[in-house]
């Protein structure tokens, strides 16, 4: 083992104070706790705002309702993207990073002042972005493609937010160094922390891409630069736009492992395979920004094929591995817990009444089946032309970012509130239903938007009846049906989202206090997992027949859907 010189790091600052978590036996440092709380609360606030905007968007796109006038629709859609895709998710991710580096490593948070600076910059950026968008001069969509120009403050707000997030990521890295130097853990970092490290590495690349493109665009909006090349913008912007979704993937998969460990005592089947799968993300996920340039002029086919395949689908392989190892780890753990009968006893007897587990498992299934498969299809060089910029695209990424990431983050919240806020979940019956309600709504949103997209419905479009056009065009009636069902699903999802926000706020403010002796959790953590783990050599006694069946179903669906799309493509007009 390497030895680390403890000298230069020095002793922890005098104001470091720890408490011991009564449920996990881990140390939690005061600054870390406060910063996790602050970031998580900010995340939920932006989720509430962005979620409301999302509901308004969906109700406007429901042709029979068409709630908002056109100006407001495009304005609210811009705000929806920024609030949920950037602010909600990145605030929560910073909380997850701090959690993974301090709580899981029994460590204090490095440089809490910088962490507060990061938080302040992110809050200022987030609030400013909302202010500017609501002013009405920055209705440029979340992507803000030039030559369409927003108010300079719009770009500035995103830059401030990105700089803040970057500082937060650096605090995370600093905390890892401190943990190593102070010897707060033995051996290698836990798998969840490893996943968080991959998310943080991707975040650096992502935020740097954002700075590289948004700073010149900001200067351009102030008249200091003559023009921004629209293709160059798109390439670099998506280095932020798509890569930030890869931070999510790494972060929410780390959360899957964390929840599986904390609720059912799951241990990775093989540390090597799971870590290797995370490593594939670091190496190859960034290429995904090319997915957004498959229907653009100027890129060669070779460039498209190499990049969109994530260099021969090695990052997709990473996700497919997690698709086996996460449910496999749960199955192995459940069989250890005594649910060893038949193929699926482990699954049917899983703690489905625990919202953390239920949300996590639905996130896993929907991310794979809905978001994952559709993402590979969209990212195939030739198939992209079938759905490029149709509402299929939002259908896909609501499958990844909402059904995958958001649902996983919501599930994690049910563990963060007791452990970090020291409050129990209020109204457990409602909490039990929350992930199902939200999951059902989101599955509907994703699938119906994808369905409408295959019928050609464009994304970011106020009126598919095209009544005000010079030359009319009538979409198929199925498209109207799909958009109506999407609106209904959005109402269900919004109800689930509202319930989440209410539960979080009420639990944090008025949930039963857990900092008293003898307090117990409504949704208990797994007990005795640690002892079981030490006896359990997963490679020798592995038995996961149920998972094998689930994975086989997934793979069958993947292959089938892949070829259906090629069949559909082959029926198009000929072009080359």
């Amino acid at each position: 083992m390497t030895t680390i010189d403890h000298g230069p790091i020095g002793l922890p600052a005098a104001n470091v104070s720890y408490r011991t978590c009564p449920f996990t036996g881990r140390r939690i440092e005061r600054n870390a706790e406060l910063l996790i709380r602050a970031n998580a609360v900010a995340a939920v606030v932006f989720l509430a705002v962005g979620g409301l905007f999302g509901l308004l968007v969906a109700l406007t796109r429901w042709p029979a309702v068409q709630l908002l006038p056109a100006e407001w629709f495009y304005l609210v859609l811009t705000g929806h993207g920024a609030n949920v895709l950037l602010f909600w998710i990145i605030f929560f991710e910073i909380a997850v990073l701090y959690f993974a580096a301090t709580f899981l490593l029994n460590c204090r948070l490095a440089t809490p002042r910088f962490a507060w600076l990061a938080f302040a910059l992110m809050v200022v950026g987030g609030v400013l972005a909302n202010y500017v968008v609501l002013q009405g001069d920055s209705t440029v969509m979340f992507t803000s493609y030039p030559p369409m120009m927003a108010d300079p403050l719009f770009y500035l707000s995103l830059i401030l937010f990105a700089v803040g997030a970057l500082i937060g990521v650096m605090v995370f890295f600093g905390t890892l160094v401190v943990a190593r130097a102070e010897g707060t853990y033995e051996g290698s970092v836990p798998l969840v922390t490893f996943g968080a490290v991959t998310a943080a590495i991707i975040a650096v690349f992502t935020l740097a891409s954002g700075a590289i493109i948004l700073i010149p665009t900001w200067l351009w909006s102030m008249g200091l630069i003559a023009g921004i090349d629209s293709l160059m913008y798109k390439l670099v912007w998506w280095g932020m736009g798509h890569s930030s979704q890869q931070i999510n993937v790494a972060a929410h998969i780390a959360i899957w492992y964390a929840i599986a460990a904390m609720v059912v005592g799951a241990k990775p089947l093989s540390e090597k395979v799971s870590r290797f799968a995370f490593l594939m993300y670091v190496l190859f996920l960034q290429l995904a920004s090319a997915h957004h340039l498959l229907a653009e002029p100027g890129m060669s086919s070779t460039w498209k094929i190499v990049n969109t395949s994530y260099m021969m689908y090695l990052a997709v392989m990473g996700s497919m591995l997690h698709g086996l190892t996460v449910p496999g780890a749960i199955e192995a753990a459940q069989r250890r817990n005594g649910f060893d009968r038949g193929y699926f006893d482990w699954l049917t007897k899983a703690p489905w009444g625990n919202p953390a587990f239920a949300g996590m498992f639905m996130s896993l299934v929907m991310f794979g089946f809905i978001g994952g498969i559709s993402g590979v299809i969209l990212g195939t060089e030739q198939l992209n032309v079938l759905m490029h910029n149709t509402i299929y695209v939002p259908g896909h990424f609501h499958g990844t970012v909402v059904a995958g990431t958001t649902l996983a983050f919501m599930a994690m919240t049910y563990l963060v509130i007791p452990i970090i806020f020291q409050r129990d979940i209020i109204w457990p019956r409602l909490a039990r239903w929350q992930p199902y309600l939200f999951g059902l709504g989101v599955a509907g949103i994703s699938l119906f938007m994808m369905g409408a997209g295959t019928l050609g419905v464009p994304r970011r479009h106020w009126d598919i009846s095209l009544i005000d056009s010079i030359i009319p065009y009538e979409f198929a009636s199925g498209a109207y049906l799909m958009m109506g069902l999407n609106g209904l699903s959005a109402i269900v999802a919004a109800a689930g989202g509202l319930l989440y926000v209410v539960l979080v706020v009420a639990s944090v403010v008025a949930g039963p206090r857990l900092d008293r002796p003898g307090a117990t959790l409504t949704f208990p953590l797994h007990k005795g997992g640690a002892e079981a783990v030490s006896h359990y050599g997963s490679a020798g006694t592995l038995k996961i027949p149920g998972t094998i069946i689930l994975v086989a179903i997934f793979f069958g669906a993947f292959i089938l859907y892949y070829f259906i799309n090629w069949k559909y493509l082959s029926a198009l007009w000929l072009f080359n």
């Binding site: 030559p147 395949s309 497919m320 591995l321 050609g456 072009f575």
Partner: protein
């Protein structure tokens, strides 16, 4: 557990179970298949988006489209120019260049093409980014100002096909449409 350091400090020396190993191999081979299938489609398929593109000044492109429309304006039996709601219908000779201009907020002009004939379709924008979305065929291509993309397009069915815009282009985005007619 996944939230603890690996119980075996030398975790990288643990053997990989054959179930995991098998799935790694399957996932890798499937990835390779998908990778090579994209390449193969360039040889076996007829739907591969062209990468022929040129830089062009938006004003120049607009002039060329107008010239093209004048030259190949469709005339009816009495020699009068044909239009659809004021937009000229242009019928380029089969096998030759056809131009389409995206601008706020229309696809201009209306094209009349012959089924089974290949056309070199030029696409560009006069102002902002637009999304060429041919319906109900569902061919979707991004259109940038300053870049001219040329695809060789062969219609395989007759009828009237709408073009909508699927890239947000301002407040009139949802009114931006166009038309391609395909005749025998």
């Amino acid at each position: 557990m996944a939230i603890d350091p690996p119980s075996n400090r030398l975790w990288w020396k643990e053997p990989i179970h054959r179930i995991e190993l098998g799935w790694i191999i399957i996932a890798f081979l499937w990835g390779l298949f998908m990778f090579f299938f994209m390449i193969a489609w360039h040889f076996i398929g007829n739907q591969n988006l062209s990468t022929e593109s040129y830089r062009v000044l938006p004003e120049q492109y607009q002039e060329r489209v107008e010239l093209f429309a004048e030259e190949h304006q469709l005339l009816d039996a009495s020699g009068e120019p044909v239009d659809v709601d004021g937009v000229p219908v242009v019928s380029p000779p089969p096998g030759e260049d056809a131009y389409l201009l995206g601008r706020l907020w229309e696809w201009w002009p209306v094209l009349e093409l012959k089924k089974g004939e290949a056309y070199r379709l030029h696409l560009s924008s006069a102002d902002w980014q637009h999304g060429f979305s041919l319906q109900p065929v569902n061919i979707n291509i991004s259109v940038h100002p300053g870049y001219e993309q040329i695809i060789t397009l062969t219609p395989t069915e007759t009828g009237e096909f709408g073009i909508v815009c699927n890239e947000f282009c301002g407040i009139g985005h949802h009114t931006m449409t166009g038309l391609i007619r395909v005749v025998e």
